[in-house]
């Protein structure tokens, strides 16, 4: 059974023993990327009705880059997603912890969290406009809600799963609730917090198009909707690839942060 171990603590996968696991991962990643693009090219070549191949999409991307649209859109969208995501996860940590910690808070809040979590963002757009208008706050709120509602579950579950003896140990050492929360619950919940953050990030990005339905003037989601009016599939694909790539990049950053934050964990594999 292959296991890679950066710490060198255990057996490594046989096939990768010669090279370091990091290089190997890079290599496999590159192979995987090439395979994906190849498949796409194939699908386009087989003429699956209307799927533009990598070539035309790259050409359109070059155009949009040249006239600055793509960069402006990306900057605007990243700002919205980041703001919504950061606010959302920042709010999810205390709320999820409160729910995990105090049964009363849980009984009060959880049904509402669960209730709103399943509401499609598309459905609340009219309401958002009525309550918050059509400017940035409305768009960011839609993203915020998506990020918050999907990450709060992880935080909550993480807090519930915190090892009781560690909490007991902290109590015996004189820690009170706020101290226990900051110094025991948060670090013990780190793996769950990162699941939450990553899920929240995904939710934030995938709500972008919905958010930019609210009178956006710029942004990747807006651009894709406009392209839909003219059924401009090349531009839509440029949008998809840009969103995917930006999302992937931000996710990588989160993973790196997680790796740093959880060196203390007895990990099975890299």
């Amino acid at each position: 059974m292959p296991r890679a171990a950066a710490t060198g603590a255990s057996r490594r996968p046989r096939g990768l023993r010669a090279r370091g696991p990091v290089t190997a991962a890079r290599l496999t990643g590159a192979v995987s990327l090439a395979a994906g693009i190849g498949l796409w090219q194939l699908a386009a070549a087989l003429g699956t009705a209307g799927v533009p191949g990598p070539g035309p999409v790259a050409a359109r991307a070059a155009e949009l880059l040249a006239d600055g649209t793509l960069v402006t859109d990306a900057v605007v969208s990243v700002r919205r997603v980041l703001t919504g995501f950061l606010l959302g996860t920042a709010a999810a940590i205390p709320v999820g912890a409160l729910m995990g910690w105090y049964p009363v808070a849980r009984a009060l809040l959880e049904p509402w969290v669960q209730f709103f979590r399943v509401i499609p963002p598309l459905a609340i757009i009219p309401l958002t406009i009525v309550l918050l208008g059509i400017d940035e706050p409305a768009k960011i709120t839609v993203i915020f809600l998506a990020a918050f509602l999907s990450s709060v579950v992880s935080v909550f579950q993480g807090v519930v799963a915190v090892d009781r003896t560690l909490v007991d140990a902290a109590r015996v050492l004189g820690a009170r609730d706020p101290g226990i929360f900051v110094r025991v619950v948060v670090p013990a919940t780190v793996p769950f917090l990162f699941v939450g953050a990553r899920v929240g990030l995904g939710a934030a990005w995938s709500t972008l198009v919905a958010a930019e339905l609210i009178a956006a003037q710029q942004g990747l989601g807006y651009r894709m909707q406009q392209a839909q009016l003219y059924y401009d599939l090349e531009t839509i694909f440029v949008g998809i690839v840009s969103i995917g790539a930006l999302g992937l990049l931000m996710d990588r950053l989160l993973i790196t942060a997680e790796r740093r934050a959880t060196v203390w964990q007895e990990r099975r594999a890299v």
């Binding site: 406009i129 009178a215 009016l229 003219y230």
Partner: protein
């Protein structure tokens, strides 16, 4: 505070029909001429603009014929008619044995509900003596309908240009079963500029000035169709050919013609006919007098200045 009073937020949809006048007004400095600071906000549909009007986030909006039931039910006031649309078509895929509307019987027809495409389909079915139950209506959002038709997942669709242009690129030889022009006698498809209900009474002078700007832009468009296409394409950052193709499916009217049409009751006839359609669809309970939601005298007065 006079300065603040003379700034307006204008909503629009990013196609030639609904953005053309705003593009011209900005390009030709018409707003400045009237001392108005106009901000444009792009939307993807009419109803969202009406929501924003109601919430006070927008002063004016641009809607297509399909959304006209919203002003008719008191949620907005039409301050100006934009132009008539002729872009709608009922089309069928080639090779499915569909040559006439009557052949649609039992076939799958993609329709974005409540749009002008939907109206054309209804009229066409009526004329062919079919009811909506005789065909398999597949309600779909516009972009979705394009994908469905282009990938041959449905037999026919009621859509409009420029969407159909894309389908044509992928499916040559689309069969045209019906189009807006076929019903010009009974039906017109006016798109309009709307304001929040009550805005006309509250801010009469400003609204009149805004309408005046729109009229000047309208006359420019009427006189210079090619330039208008160029200006709009630049404004929307779209390919000029695509916009020109769009423009071919519209019927611009001069301001004078619109004033006359308002006087002789033509505009009222257009809107009344549309209301009949909405009542049949259940969007409206009953038709309302057109003057309740169309500020026709304001349009006339503005044109007279």
């Amino acid at each position: 505070d006079g300065d603040r009073d003379r700034s307006v937020d204008f909503g629009y949809i990013a196609d030639y029909n609904q953005a053309g006048l705003l593009a011209v007004a900005r390009e030709r400095g018409l707003w400045k001429e009237h001392g108005i600071r106009a901000t444009y906000k792009v939307f993807t549909d009419g109803p969202t603009q009406i929501t924003a009007l109601g919430a006070g986030d927008l002063d004016f909006g641009t809607i297509g014929p399909g959304a006209t039931w919203l002003p008719a039910s008191g949620r907005a006031t039409v301050v100006a008619v934009n132009q008539l649309g002729r872009a709608d078509r009922v089309v069928a895929l080639p090779g499915r044995g569909i040559d006439r509307i009557a052949d649609l019987k039992g076939k799958r027809v993609a329709v974005p509900e409540g749009t002008s495409g939907d109206m054309i389909l209804g009229l066409a079915l009526d004329r062919a003596g079919l009811s909506r139950d005789d065909v398999r209506i597949v309600p779909m959002a516009p972009a979705t309908a394009v994908a469905a038709l282009a990938s041959r997942q449905v037999d026919a669709a009621a859509l409009w240009y420029p969407l159909l242009a894309t389908v044509e690129k992928r499916v040559p030889g689309l069969v045209r079963l019906a189009e807006s022009a076929d019903f010009a006698a009974e039906f017109a498809f006016p798109s309009s500029f709307v304001a929040a209900p009550g805005a006309v009474d509250k801010n009469r002078e400003l609204v009149e000035d805004v309408v005046r700007v729109l009229q000047k832009a309208n006359d420019f468009r009427y006189a210079n169709p090619e330039k208008t296409v160029a200006i709009t394409a630049g404004f929307l950052r779209l390919d000029r050919d695509a916009v020109a193709a769009d423009a071919r499916n519209t019927q611009p009217l001069s301001t004078a013609e619109l004033v006359a049409a308002g006087r002789d009751g033509t505009v009222a006839r257009w809107f009344t006919a549309l209301q009949g359609f909405f009542v049949r669809n259940g969007k409206l309970d009953a038709p309302v007098p057109v003057e309740k939601f169309y500020a026709g005298d304001l349009y006339t007065r503005a044109a007279a200045r």
